[in-house]
Structure formats: C-alpha cells, structure tokens
Amino acid sequence: MSVEFTKLGAAAIASNVRAGDVSPPDMVRASFNRAREIGVGRDTLNIYLHSDEKASLEEAEAMHERMGSSADAGVLAGVPVAIKDNIASLGLPTTCASKILAGYVSPFEATAITRMRASGALIVAKTNMDEFAMGSSTENSAHGPTRNPHDVRCVPGGSSGGSAAAIAAGVTPLALGSETGGSVRQPAAFCGVVGVKPTYGRVSRYGLVAFASSLDQIGVLGRTVDDAALGLETIAGFDKLDSTSSNVPVPIYRLSALGGPPPDSKSPDTEAIRIGRSPVPLPPPPTSKTLEGVVIGKPKEYFPESLDASIRDLCERSLDRFRSMGATIRDISLPRSPLAIPVYYILAPAEASSNLARFDGVRYGLRVDPGKGLKAMYEATRSQGFGPEVTRRILLGTYVLSAGYYDAYYKKAQAVRTLIADDFKSVFASGVNAIFTPTTPTTAFQVGAISDPYEMYLNDIFTVTANLAGVPAISVPIGRVRRLPVGGQIITGHFDEYTMFRVAYALEAGLGAEAHQ
C-alpha cells in the first residue's frame, strides 16, 4: 500500500475511501508508515513538530464508524493532511516553531482546518517552519531546519518548508502552509511539489497566527495541481470571523482542467462534484487547442540577465509547451516589480512588530520572570522566546513605524505597493490572462549557505509581488537542475484562480514526466 499511497492524489484517496476500498484508518497507517520509513523527526528530515499517531488513528476509527453512507463521507474523506505549525489546531500544539509558544495548545481552531475536517480530512501532523513564518529556508525554526527530501544537505525553502517537504516525502498528499512573501510557492519550487497562494481574502485568516495581516494567506501544497485545486476549494470562501475575507463565490477549481470558463456554481451537478458525490470528469490529454485563446505574459523584469541559465532554459521549455497547446506568449513589463523587496521588507516587519506584541508572557506561552518587575518580565520573555530573525524583523518594523520615520518608510512603501499592484492591474486589463515566471532565482541551497539577511530576502524576489498585489499565484514543478527541483509560477488577476488552475493543469499535463527531470 505504501508505494501506491505515496503516489496517490488526494482526490483519488478520498474516492477510494468513499468507495470502501480503503478505510480512513488504513490511510492514517499508510501515512505514519511512510513517515517512519523516510524519517520525519528531529534527527532525520525534521518535517514534523507535533504528531500523535494514536490520536489520529482513534479519530480515523471514529470517522470510519460514523461514515454510514460512504458517498457522503466528504470530498476529502480519509485524506491525511499536514498543517503548518502557525495555523491554530485543536489537539496538536500550535507553536509557530518558536520557543515563545512552546507547548501552547490552541483552544480554538482555524476556519480552514474546520472546513477541511468537515470534508473528511484527517489532520495528522503540525509541520516545521521558519519561526513565525519569517524566513525562506526553515532554518529559522527553534527546532532546527527541515531537510529537503531531494537532497538532505539542502533546505526545503521556507517558511512553509515542513509542509512542502511532507508532500515531497510522500507522507501526506495535501498540506496547508501560509504565505506572506512567497512562503508556500518558494518551498514548493525547492521541493518539486505544487504550492498555491490564493487571492488575498480568498481564504479565512481566522486561526492563522498573524505575521503581516495585509499580506498573509493560508496556502495549499500538494503532489499535483489537482490536489492543490481540491484543497483550495475546501477551505476557500467567506468567513464572518475574518473581516478581510471575501464573499466572491468559490468555483470548483478542479473543473478548470476541462478547459473553458467556469460552469454554473449553483447547479446540482456542480454541487455534487463539490461535496464529493460525483467525480470530476476526466480531462482529455493536452492538444494544440487546450490553451487556445489564452494569452500568457512573460514579464521581462522576472527574466533578468542574471537569471540562472538552467532555470531560464526550463522556463523557456514551459513557454514552448504553452505555445504548443495553443497559447499566445506576449512580452510584458511589470516595471515596479524590482522595488518589491524593499517595499515588502518595510511593510511586513512593520505589521509583524505589532502582531507579535501579544507574545508578552501574560496570558499564554513562555514566561520568563527574573523577579525584577513587569518590564523585566516582558524583556526576558521576549528576548529568550524569539529567535534572531524574528528579533531583527520586530526591530526593523518598530523602527519604520516610529515617530519621524513613518512617512519616509511605512507610508512611502504603502504607496509604492499600490504602484506594484497597478502594474498587474494594467497587464490583466490589456488582455493578458496569466503571467508566467520562474518561482525562484535558484534551486535549493545548502543548509547554512546563506547568512546575510538581505541575501536571504532575495529568495522572494519573484514571489513577493503577488503578495503585495494580492493576486493569486501557483508554483508548478517544471524540471530539475542537477537533480534539484525547479518551479514555474503562474499568476492571474484577483479571484481568477480558475484561470490560474486551468493554465497550471495544462502545463502539468503538457510537461508530463519531464516536470520531474
């Protein structure tokens, strides 16, 4: 079973469970067996921070008994899912890979997790990450870095490195991560898996431990585009507990594999597919008409002279594949994108410095009390509880918000952010349906290779603009360089995940096995 398990997508697993061919406990066992086989603990790949096999099996047994008519067991029935440790879950701790939340078990659960559970998913683990999602390599975890399953000397990317590695290692077909500046797409690219960041407001942030509130979104990682599409369908949609969540209806993203515009989301047939009673029709193999009429933009700022030649070649191969499927490739410009890193590293730390003020040792988490009064308690708790990168960003953020600097830094960055977003608006208004870029400037680097903070920040150079503009983006494997995975990124307009998935499905089908070579 374990070999098949590591190759099955979430939809297929759920379908087998609903049909009664396998049971939820079978799936949990398969997941934990694989975890033991590959090694997810501290001494091995260091993917999992918290898991409880016994509790997960009990939950699976209970679900199995409750299921009654299996056809209604849910669109993710019996699917084991790994969750990044900054998403509040009941049962397993939520520590954000930080000492300051060591042992903290949340008394409430994130809406995204509630929705997954309601669809039959089984939460089997909380995954390692950069502390408070601040990082691009998972080296900033208080529990040591996660190792890239493709090459254990290398990082898996970050900050959702544990979730990406879980997919790459085959321990779960689906995982949730979070994005603020590329933290789902970049590790997806480094680990050779699919990672999607939805439109800002598409998925509820209730229960996502806030890093930068105007940028954060929960993202989905999976083995294939279909896993990511299914995962996103399950968690997306308006949540009254999140004032920034959108009530734009959620289409069935999986249907985009069939090409064409989204079907009527209210029809009973569509509903049956949404809840898992009916399967998605099998998409046809790619042809020269699959992407007919689709215009894909190639922004020159994301293909600089300095871009690694191998990565450039793989991107060109992808663009050729698009052309062969009928798409038109257009050269475009997103002129303010090169300003994105400075803008991001002002705005995100600023919001973070405020969001992390609640970690003060008063109501939960770590408290260090030197016995010298309240102020000393705050300072000792926070200096011992936060790692160096978090400390650095809180200081940076506090500085750019402080009296005398607010206009020059924060206010200025907010305005430039609007310009960056405007570039995307203009491009999509000019008839371009999707934008294609490399996801990252390099493949996974070795643990310890990058020590300069700003050099580490440059890992996000192609991903962070989508967060700043609030547009959806997905990273899809497009090949290997010296056996390390490379990701290609597809970006579309606000709430146009359907087109994003359509193009992603096409690329995945068009590349076939070459995506992993």
Partner: protein, 104 residues
C-alpha cells in the same frame, strides 16, 4: 539612512525586546545594512498615489450586537502562565503606576 546604536536601544525598549549591549552593536550593523537597501524607494515618485487599503472598495463588514463568542475548547488555566482566583497575575510594574495608566 543609518541606524545608530541609540536608535537600536530605543526601539528595543519600545518593543520590549531586551537587547543586550553586545547584540546591540551587531544589530546596529545589520539593520543599517538592510535599511540601506530601502533608500531606493525615496527616489520613486508617489505623488497622488494612495496607500493600498485592501482589494475592492468595500467597507468593513458589521456584525449584529448579539450572539455567542467564538468557541474556546480549553480553559484559561490550561494555558495561562499564572492565574489566581480567575485573574491573570503578572509582576508589579517596577515604577508602580495606578489605574491612570490603564484603560483608555
């Protein structure tokens, strides 16, 4: 714009971060280096450009003045560092100030 050591100690205090002297020097260098990269923004013309306030022009949603608060499946005691008689307990402010400082 360069950050001075005094700046770092001042903002560390604002952020209750307890940075010691050794670390303060390192941080001064690191922050100055990072901020140097931000200088490019001062050259961008942003006259008349509004700050981003979210996607779409809708206002904040309002909720009715009734209802049940969101779920809490564990008690405060299960995660509070120090509680007594239902209160959260913290060490006294060293410069103990009365209720004048608390509240609005």
């Amino acid at each position: 714009m360069a950050v001075t050591r005094e700046d770092v100690l001042h903002i560390a205090e604002l952020a209750r971060l307890g940075v010691d002297n050794a670390r303060a020097d390192e941080l001064t260098k690191e922050l100055s280096a990072i901020l140097a990269h931000m200088d490019v923004l001062s050259q961008v013309d942003t006259t008349g450009v509004p700050a981003t306030t979210g996607i779409g022009g809708e206002g904040t949603p309002l909720r009715p003045d009734v209802g049940v608060p969101p779920m809490m499946e564990r008690t405060l005691e299960s995660f509070a560092p120090s509680m007594r008689d239902g209160f959260f307990i913290v060490p006294r402010l060293a410069t103990h100030e009365d209720s004048a400082e608390s509240g609005a």
